[in-house]
Amino acid sequence: MSNKSDSPSTDRRQFIGGTLAAAGALTLAPGVILHALAANDKATAGASGEHRWGMVIDTNKCADGCSACVDACNSEHALEGHDRPATDAVWIRPVKLKDKQTGHVNRLVMMCQHCEHPPCVDVCPTNASFKRVDGVVLVDRHRCIGCRYCMMACPYKARSFVHEALSDQSVNAPRGKGCVESCTLCVHRIDAGGMRTACQEACEKEGHAAILFGDLNDPESEISRVLKTHNSVQIRADLELNTGVRYLNL
């Protein structure tokens, strides 16, 4: 390149060289440059396949009329309603059930079940729906084109489509018009080393403690102990999705 006779003046060449080098470094070896930089910084290690994050919800403890977890989720992620229930974002919702045969009544909360084999990830044409190595199912809004096929595929009605332009989103959950979203299992807290989700925190504060978050892969974790000693169920277990969210006493 440099032995071309019509080569430009030196400083310009330097500029071009610099640009090319920078562009080259970034396009050819993005991992290298970024991680070299990250090493200077206090970057977190990131998600690890050693963990599988999950939740247990005790339906006996979920109190009638309580919406503490929903409110906490809404404020944690700055989900604002517009009094349009069919289009407003719903990341977590209470459901009250009555057995058709016996009349037994249950109350529980539904949210993204963070499946091991998530149908939303299978159907997403652009890989925007994805599962992290630690089992958290998320939407990469940089890739989501808003086709809503994942919402068609989700057995739990867990996903919402952002139906209007937003501003003042939370840094915890950048989100915007035209993309699909759902419960992130408070992934910003997980990444920061936090061991409680916003909904769990709120539920405990209310004195119910119906929600327990933890590492399903760690046999020492509280969630693993609870699941080992109690009979739990997955919702729509027939689909064999191996959900990360389990229910007690349902």
Partner: protein, 158 residues
Amino acid sequence: MRSSLISNRRLILLLTVLLTPAMQVLAESAYVTENSKAAVLERCVAPTDVMRRNHMDFLRHGRDDTVLRGVRGLEYSLAECIDCHASTDASGKAVSVADEGEFCQACHGYVAVSPACFQCHRTTPDSAAGRESLGYRFNANPRHPVGQPVDGETDHEQ
């Protein structure tokens, strides 16, 4: 392969010639908005010309690391850009970086490139509760205080 390199180079030359006037305008302006944290800091997370040239690539690679792999607290974080570069108005309220004449809009408006970031990301520092739990805030103390030399100045240009 070689021929494509040459044509790439020609393209870059052409773009350089075309963009030189624009570059000069940018080079002459020492643009940080007043009343922003950045206004009283010595420098950004990398030398200014590097940031000007490459901020979009830094952010793009950082976003994949964060969203897909859960790596937080990276050197380059959009949330921190905004924390530092958003200015405050007379009443002390934060002004959106995408408003007329503000940090992001000033250049992006000039070159007519719409920053897509703000379709999803907020444009003012997030003062709401819960932010301390964010991975990116691991190092709570301000990163580049005034007058303190930043080591590894050249490390960034690898």
